[in-house]
């Protein structure tokens, strides 16, 4: 279901060009509006659809197996932190709205700036621990699992 762009909605702002993971949303040099230059490299990931400020991008199911007449449209609202979907069947029998959270916290505010956290001790550097460990492994006082702690060893051969 490659993407396509509505002529009446696109203003050529380039948000889709910027976000497309496949590098296939580009600006047409004649009409200076966006379009999908390589539909068979489109994963229908909807990244551009969600990014478009004008809802100018839509998707039409892949021609080799999807009949015409359906609609799956989306609005991703970062400020509210939700994504809304609407699915309409080809025969019109289903017209369904869905809504889901996409974040539980303001964007980026709770991601640590690791340059500012206290540096690891030499002991920690020599250990097998990563940042925030062992605390974050179990969120209690438990330590990292090792072969010893779990009563294991590595053995060559055929074992199941």
């Amino acid at each position: 279901m490659p993407t396509f762009v509505y002529m009446t909605r696109c203003d050529g702002c380039g948000q889709c060009v910027d976000i497309c993971p496949s590098d296939i949303m580009h600006i047409d040099t004649t009409i200076r509006r966006a379009y999908n230059i390589e539909p068979n490299m489109c994963w229908e990931c909807y990244s551009c659809v969600k990014a478009c400020p004008h809802n100018a991008i839509d998707v039409r199911g892949y021609a080799d197996f999807a009949p015409l007449g359906h609609s799956v449209r989306v609005r991703r609202d970062e400020e509210k932190g939700v994504i809304a979907w609407r699915i309409i069947f080809r025969n019109g029998s289903k017209d369904m709205d869905l809504l889901a959270p996409i974040t539980t916290k303001p964007w980026g505010k709770h991601i640590p700036q690791l340059a500012d956290v206290p540096p690891p001790s030499q002991e920690m550097r020599d250990s097998q621990l990563l940042f925030n460990e062992p605390k974050y492994i179990r969120l209690d006082d438990g330590d990292l699992h090792t072969l010893e702690s779990n009563g294991l060893k590595m053995k060559e051969g055929v074992y199941y």
């Binding site: 279901m1 230059i37 892949y62 289903k94 709770h110 097998q128 090792t146 294991l152 590595m154």
Partner: protein, 620 residues
């Protein structure tokens, strides 16, 4: 061409590819290297790149030690049986013991992890999977990486690794080009973490036109993880272990939540359960150690993914297709129905589009399933990738050479799809592997292993000429023809990709041959692959976008060649349902309970193959 050369010097940790593995590496590197220069080179826009660009509805690797659910070794045993024994258990154990700390941080950062209202624990989809509202999974982890990195270079297609000229077999950075400006980028770095993607689109897809974009694994996953490493002379492992997926037909929508959470099941075209009737025959092929339905039933030991594929493929070939997913029972519950749709919208919107287009309401009809074309990657139920060192406290001597997740090239680390023998890492495990690699890379530098690296201008100039050669070639030979794409002196990237896909499909066990190959076919395949390699010297790019496709194709080609060599080397059928060696249809533990390891000589292009011992985690 007026493209500029932009040199970024003095990098300590260069992260190539910022999907889940790369974002994990960049994030963690800052903790262990407060003053180190950390740089990311990403082919797309880090906010939506990699296989998780469109989101995920589940985190498929979470132990739940916090809730007393599983221990790391349980996951190792699971991955071991699912991959028919062929895994790197040191790496798996290491990933599993750290992965929960990754997931708990994700929740802190705002990723909506669902909870089970009764237990308060995370909502399990299956034993290892937890459910999330993960539409913004990628932007969230990207934010973490951006906070840690000194610089993020977006839209850089990294084509080659730079090699040190003062010490053999040591990495010195990477080069590539900007797919928008066309500029040549040189990254001089003490260490490199290759966290690029596995390979979609190397086997001919089932779809024929536009639909070939609806690959199961992202079309932009161009096997660069392997292309970069193989070209640098790193040893690779388990490259024969490609994966075939049983998925909803055409849209390749995920089935995990359907099986595990929604409790749907499969049946053949005439409404029968079909899997069990194939078990006796299959048991003869692989042995009771790998398939014992009774034991599986009693102990909940899973039946390996490939073997379930085998039953699927065999049933269809016996004329009793199509295989259906029985959804009509579960979907009568409107809550479950909604989860079914969210599941698609959260990670494979295309499947929802297809159902909308064909009026498939799973409440009223049972949708069709299919088995996909094969994919080469290392973080799902498959473990292709580089031969990497494990952690000091777990790995036996054959698996350890100083730094966790370091490849056989010094200073060159892997994460995610790049690391071989570590299936079932998925998103969270890949992020965790990135973290492990980053810590090790910092240690490598702190230990003074990266001193005196020298990169000559000659090397930089040589690679520059190589990178832009497809554009140069196009300009010169375009003069030969009036118009169009048919030219006796070049092929364009799409034509090259078509050739590669057809070749791999027919000789290496793709869908049109029902995943069957043998020594003769593989040898023909290798011969043709050499010719393709020669022709790829004549691949032509009309513009920068095509240059991107040309280099993706070159990486896919290197990946494919490794797949052929490995498949030829392993003279057995280890994973029926993934592929079959028609000339060795049985699993052969006596000779092949080993990991396959290859190296391509960077100078001659010759392959050498070897067996590496397979260690298992057992009770002490």
């Amino acid at each position: 061409m007026a493209y500029k050369t932009i040199i970024e010097d003095g990098i300590d940790v260069l992260v190539v590819g910022a999907g889940l593995g790369g974002t994990g590496a960049a994030f963690e590197a800052r903790y262990w290297g407060k003053d180190k220069k950390i740089v990311i080179a990403e082919k797309a826009n880090i906010d939506r790149s990699g296989a998780v660009a469109q989101g995920l509805y589940a985190i498929n690797c979470y132990m739940g030690t916090r809730f007393g659910e599983n221990k790391p070794e349980d996951h190792v045993r699971y991955a071991r049986i699912d991959l028919m024994g062929m895994v790197r258990e040191d790496l798996l154990f290491d990933m599993a013991r750290h992965v929960d700390s990754t997931v708990h941080q994700f929740e802190d950062w705002g990723l909506p992890l669902m909870r089970n209202p009764k237990t308060g624990a995370y909502q399990r989809e299956g034993r290892w999977q937890i459910m999330i509202h993960g539409e913004s999974y990628k932007p969230i982890v990207a934010e973490a990486a951006k906070k840690s990195a000194d610089k993020v270079f977006n839209r850089i297609c990294v084509t080659h690794l730079l090699m040190d000229e003062s010490k053999q077999n040591r990495v010195a950075g990477a080069v590539g080009f900007n797919v928008r400006t066309g500029n040549y980028h040189v990254f001089k770095s003490k260490t490199v973490v290759v966290a690029a993607g596995g390979a979609s689109n190397i086997f001919k897809p089932r779809s024929v036109g536009e639909g070939s974009g609806r690959v199961w694994y992202a079309p932009w996953s161009s096997g660069s993880a392997y292309g970069l490493l193989i070209r640098a002379g790193a040893k690779m492992t388990q490259m024969e272990n490609r994966i075939v997926l049983a998925r909803f037909k055409d849209g390749y929508g995920p089935v995990g939540a359907y099986f595990l959470h929604l409790k749907t099941y499969t049946q053949n075209g005439i409404g029968e359960e079909y899997e069990s009737k194939w078990w006796p025959q299959l048991q003869e092929m692989v042995g009771a150690e790998y398939l014992d339905p009774e034991v599986s039933h009693r102990t909940h030991r899973p039946i390996p993914t490939c073997l379930r594929n085998h039953a699927f493929i065999s049933e269809v070939n016996a004329g009793r297709g199509p295989i259906h997913m029985v959804t009509m029972e579960a979907f009568q519950d409107p809550h479950l129905e909604e989860i079914g749709w969210h599941n698609f919208l959260g990670m494979t919107v295309g499947q929802a589009v297809l159902w909308a287009a064909t009026d498939v309401d799973p409440k009223n009809e049972n949708p069709e399933l299919t088995t996909s074309e094969p994919y080469v990657m290392g973080s799902h139920a498959t473990g292709c990738g580089a031969w990497c060192s494990g952690p000091e406290d777990v790995s036996p001597p054959e698996y350890f050479w100083g730094y966790n997740r370091m490849t056989t090239v010094e200073g060159l680390f892997g994460a995610g799809d790049a690391v071989g023998g570590t299936p079932h890492a998925f998103s969270s495990g890949s992020f965790t592997e990135g973290r492990l690699a980053a810590k090790a890379a910092c240690k490598y530098i702190d230990d003074g292993k990266a001193g005196g690296i020298r990169v000559s201008d000659a090397q930089i100039k040589r690679l520059q000429a190589e990178i832009y050669k497809p554009m140069e070639h196009y300009r010169v030979y375009r003069n030969e023809i009036t118009a169009g794409t048919v030219n006796p002196n070049y092929i364009n990237p799409r034509q090259g990709l078509d050739r590669l896909q057809k070749l791999m499909d027919e000789y290496a066990g793709g869908v049109t041959v029902s995943y069957m190959t043998n020594e003769k076919l593989l040898n023909i395949g290798l011969k043709k692959m050499k010719m393709l390699e020669e022709d790829l010297e004549k691949v032509a790019a009309e513009n920068i976008h095509e240059l991107l496709r040309a280099w993706e194709l070159k990486h896919r080609h290197l990946t494919s060649e490794a797949v052929l060599h490995h498949t030829l080397f392993r003279k057995e059928t280890r994973w029926p349902g993934y592929y079959y060696r028609g000339d060795a249809m049985k699993l052969d533990d006596e000779n092949w309970h080993v990991l396959t390891v290859s190296r391509r000589d960077p100078d001659t292009g010759e392959y050498t193959m070897e067996k590496a011992p397979c260690y298992h985690l057992v009770e002490a």
